[in-house]
């Protein structure tokens, strides 16, 4: 786990503001869990899912190659990775559908291979693919599923939560793709679970449907649910997740908050601008960090101290009367980090 170490050293060296925006306890992020636990025992919240050294092989194909995951109560945890990374395999092991090849798994204190009715009362599952009951209405379908649970939530409330009130009496077969997906989520919620698995909940959605789904998932967290999300959309993970785990080729290649993943917060900033006409590269202030020239006149530079670099650059531009109208400061996006982490896999 050489990579995990490098991630950790970058993260622990980071500023404390990392976790501020998502409101989670300020615990260090690492794939090396026992160490993390001893570092921040006081802040460690209740563990809902714990996975260690999980392996899954289908014949000769090793879909999951020894991963460790820990999910805490009340957080949105995202499994991010390219298709075929092992996301769904892992989730289906956690949901009790697949028997693992090796490793330890505990979900709500129980090994999902031995799941019983009491455990299923507390877990909601949205599968990657599952048809609706085409001949039942939304309300009937929810009544059918609600009747399977000891203490279901009121069906009207669930329909409103997923935004299907107008379709409450429409047959499943008449719903659009986005509406069916919302019904999938509603069916997973009707039993009032503590833990909800969402396997690629917005695949195939148009942008506005995706936004609506995100609002809904954020609403679930507000209800105190723990959410295990898989997705291959970077923006989805960034928008929703408290913590992200990047899976590629059956291995975890990075873990952290959306802001800290892969050392994102401490990665150098990129400053770029177009050279004013008539100015050559050699006329730029010598104090600037190493420059790269793209397309003859586009200057790019990377710096760990963007304020210094910018003030040098701006003072120079002001003195010489240049506008630098297209000056840009660029932070690495989650996508940049993700592509770097998953490079060479899948």
């Amino acid at each position: 786990m050489q990579f995990a170490k490098s991630v950790r050293s970058q993260v622990t060296g980071a500023a404390p503001s990392v976790t501020g925006s998502t409101g989670k306890a300020g615990m260090p992020t690492s794939t090396d869990w026992p160490v993390a636990a001893s570092d921040a025992r006081a802040a460690l919240p209740e563990t809902v899912i714990s996975v260690s050294a999980l392996r899954m092989a289908f014949g000769d194909l090793e879909a999951v190659r020894g991963i460790d995951v820990e999910v805490h109560r009340g957080e949105v945890f995202a499994f991010l990775g390219p298709n075929g990374a092992g996301k769904t395999t892992t989730v289906e092991i956690l949901e009790g559908y697949l028997k693992r090849t090796a490793g330890e798994v505990s979900v709500l204190g129980i090994d999902p291979e031995h799941a019983n009715a009491d455990w299923r009362e507390r877990v909601g599952v949205v599968l990657q693919e599952s048809a609706v009951e085409p001949d039942l209405t939304v309300t009937e379908c929810l009544n059918l599923y609600g009747g399977c649970y000891g203490a279901p939530r009121p069906v009207d409330e669930i329909i409103e939560l997923v935004g299907l009130t107008e379709k409450a009496h429409a047959r499943g077969g008449s719903l659009s793709g986005g509406q069916r997906r919302r019904l999938d989520v509603a069916l997973a919620l009707v039993g009032d679970p503590e833990l909800v698995f969402l396997d690629e909940p917005t695949t195939g959605f148009d942008p506005s449907a995706r936004r609506a789904a995100w609002d809904m998932i954020a609403g679930l967290q507000a209800l105190g649910k723990t959410i295990f999300l898989t997705t291959h959309y970077m923006d989805e993970a960034e928008h929703l997740a408290d913590r992200i785990c990047v899976l590629a080729g059956g291995e975890i290649v990075g873990e952290g908050t959306p802001q800290s993943l892969g050392g994102r917060e401490s990665a150098p900033s990129e400053i770029s601008f177009t050279l004013p006409s008539g100015v050559t590269q050699s006329e730029l202030p010598a104090a600037l960090p190493a420059l790269m020239l793209e397309n003859h006149d586009r200057v790019e530079l990377r710096t760990d101290t963007p304020v210094d670099a910018l003030s040098t650059l701006c003072a120079w531009a002001k003195d010489h009367g240049h506008d630098l109208a297209d000056l840009e400061v660029h932070r690495p996006t989650l996508e940049d980090i993700y592509l770097r982490l998953t490079e060479g896999s899948g």
């Binding site: 714990s50 709500l108 009491d118 599968l127 997973a188």
Partner: protein, 271 residues
């Protein structure tokens, strides 16, 4: 690694009977709204009865103890056909579709015990089989004069009950051997059509060569047809129970149940 768990305190488990009734209610609703299911289950046997009696109704057929009108002969055979459509064919198509589209897989994530789902679906199959059988018997009586002797009515009821349960179990067994929703209907036809022809359902048994009848005797369709025919045969003496045929049906049902319980799958075979 310790994992703390706060148990959900307010869970109240419903009684098994209430769970099965709940399941049956929605299975019945689904069935009544499904046009294809309704047609293959309810309309086809009636259509067949009308056509067969129109085509061949005026002839006579040799049966045990004498002869009977062909229109009277076809009624018990097509009651058996209707029963198999309801308890077997419809069940195989809908359960396979539910498995392949992930409906069963999703249902597996609820705390409902597996057997409730199976029991609900099986009860629906037996109930629809009873309804379609009653409809065909009624049609036979009023339209074709195929009035069974009053003393054999208990035998008819028992035969329909045993037949429906046996074919329901065989249906669940066949589902485990079908790999995709698209192949369910063809597989059913492959299995059942030849049996209908050689078992005296579509063709009077006096026209079927002995060697074919011997083959048919191995399979449950002929035994269902024979048991129903005995109850409808005006020459039958006594209560009309065909015990040996019912025993063979029960054995087939038990084998089907054993296979179904052993091999039942919740997850799609085609991924």
């Amino acid at each position: 690694m310790s994992v703390a768990v706060a148990p959900k305190s307010h869970v109240v488990h419903r009684s098994s009977a209430a769970l099965v009734a709940h399941q049956l209610h929605y299975d019945a609703l689904t069935f009544l709204r499904n046009r294809q299911g309704r047609f293959f289950t309810l309309a086809l046997p009636v259509v067949f009865l009308v056509i067969f009696c129109a085509l061949f109704g005026n002839g006579t057929v040799h049966v045990l103890g004498g002869t009977m009108k062909e229109s009277t002969y076809y009624v018990p055979g097509l009651v058996g056909f209707g029963l198999i459509q309801a308890a077997f064919a419809n069940l195989v198509v809908s359960v396979t579709a539910q498995r392949e589209t992930g409906v069963l897989k999703r249902r597996r994530s609820t705390p409902e015990p597996a057997w409730v789902l199976i029991a609900g679906r099986a009860l629906l199959a037996v109930a629809t089989a009873a309804v379609i059988a009653a409809l065909l018997v009624f049609l036979g009586v009023i339209a074709y004069g195929a009035t069974p002797p009053g003393r054999t009515i208990p035998a008819i009821a028992v035969t329909i009950a045993i037949g429906a349960m046996a074919f329901c179990a065989l249906g669940y067994a066949l589902v485990t051997a079908i790999n995709s929703a698209d192949s369910a209907q063809p597989v059913i036809q492959m299995v059942m059509l030849p049996l209908y022809f050689i078992s005296g359902v579509f063709v009077p048994e006096s026209q079927i060569p002995h060697w074919l009848r011997d083959i048919a005797n191995v399979f449950p369709v002929r035994h269902l047809q024979q048991a129903l025919l005995k109850a409808f045969n005006p020459h039958t003496v006594g209560a009309g129970f065909a015990w040996s045929d019912l025993l063979v049906l029960a054995i087939w049902g038990a084998v089907g149940l054993a296979i179904a319980v052993r091999r039942f799958g919740w997850q799609p075979k085609v991924r």
